[in-house]
Symmetry: C2
Subunit: 249 residues, 2 copies
């Protein structure tokens, strides 16, 4: 067999000096997780509070403080103490690379290995840190370079671009309109299984029949069935209107 030749010496010398280091050394799994989290949290606008990162990742605040310091030293984010954190261009690129890996993997597992959409998340969560860029591109290729993963999340492309689609949460779709579900914003297996059982997944079309006030449930028609969805679930279903209402009385 095969004595393990050093793939890339971890405590390596500063490479061939003079050569521009195109590929940054390879981030640790932890760093990638932080970047992903910060990227996600920064989607709801403005700088991200360290406490939000801590809550999201289930880490203590001091852990986050420490890591934030390291990440800013690595040039992956900008930290204004007591204010918050913002990804630099490099940080965003790294986050998108990880996100791409994650979503390509999820798609591959579902399409090629028969995984159910509610069970791919933990697997992808681990593989995204282990897989090489070249394997991801091979997977993407055999999948035909998909733009969306099984949950409807957009897959960042290799060049860093990502098609963002405008959507409305089902909980806010006007009554009497037909919509298509584009995206399901949870990775909890139970919820995903329940939604799938109701016929609610990306690509499903449905018609909004009723909604009760004060965050009340929404009633929709899916195929021939009427379903009642609480506000919490309805808010997770991001939709695109396919009609302007009044088609079905």
């Amino acid at each position: 067999m095969h004595p393990p030749q050093p793939t890339s010496s971890p405590p390596g010398p500063p490479r061939t000096p003079g050569t521009p280091p195109k590929r940054p050394p390879r981030l640790t799994a932890s760093v990638e997780d932080y970047l992903k989290a910060i990227f996600r949290l920064s989607q709801d606008g403005g700088p991200v509070a360290t406490s939000d990162i801590a809550e999201w990742l289930n880490f203590s605040a001091p852990s986050v403080s420490g890591m934030v310091k390291r990440l800013s030293e690595l040039g992956l984010l900008e930290h204004i103490p007591y204010k918050g954190v913002e990804l630099t261009a490099a940080g965003r690129r790294a986050a998108l690379r990880t996100l791409r890996r994650h979503r390509i993997i999820e798609t591959y597992l579902v399409e090629k290995l028969g995984y159910a959409w509610d069970s791919v998340h933990p697997e992808a969560e681990r593989l995204e840190h282990a897989v090489s860029e070249s394997l991801i591109e091979r997977m993407a290729l055999t999948l035909g370079n998909p733009a969306f993963d099984p949950h409807g999340d957009p897959i960042p492309q290799a060049d860093g671009s990502m098609t963002e689609v405008e959507t409305i949460p089902l909980s806010e779709v006007p009554l009497n309109s037909a919509v298509e579900v584009l995206r399901v914003m949870t990775s909890e297996p139970e919820r995903l299984r329940y939604l799938a059982k109701l016929g609610l997944k990306p690509g499903s079309t449905l018609y909004v029949l009723d909604r009760q006030p004060f965050h009340g449930p929404t009633t929709v028609r899916v195929g021939y069935k009427d379903r009642i969805l609480g506000h919490e679930l309805a808010a997770l279903l991001l939709c695109r209107r396919t009609s302007d209402g009044d088609q079905i009385a």
Copy 2:
């Protein structure tokens, strides 16, 4: 998106007491690498010297000493100080699980993702620690439960069994006999590419024409070509005789 729910709390309480812990907590990548190395080294007989482990893994001797201590505390190996190290049943099981993962992954990458056999090793080396048992079984299933990987290495089965085949290194095959290459004992890409270029890979059949003394080269006929192989390479090709010689003059 999805706040990461704890897949398995790392500093977890001692599980439900009374329940026999069928699945040991999940070994670290490092531990798995040590077990693989020790398993491999113990194939050439007897207890394994810590210095051999150190050399194989390219670690310092003290690092190995330390890890050996931990592994023996984990019940994965037996350590007779200043003597050597031997895997326990649990250690061997774990090593075989990792080996199975590695070889299934290599086979999958070659069969399903178009990897060349000389470039799968590093990828598998990382993935084997990240992949779940269930993903491995899915891969194995889509591959039709293969018994050998692209290098001809036997794949341990899920139950821990492994078909061992009796082989002779090409460097020791008697003259004037036809053999089939079963296994190629290197993972170095350059050597693998060179051998493949000569038509020498698992499944190739060849005829041994000549061998020079004192670890000299072996001349073989592969298809219509005669090839001369140095002792070092010839020793890496494990073969099975398909004739008892004298067929071809």
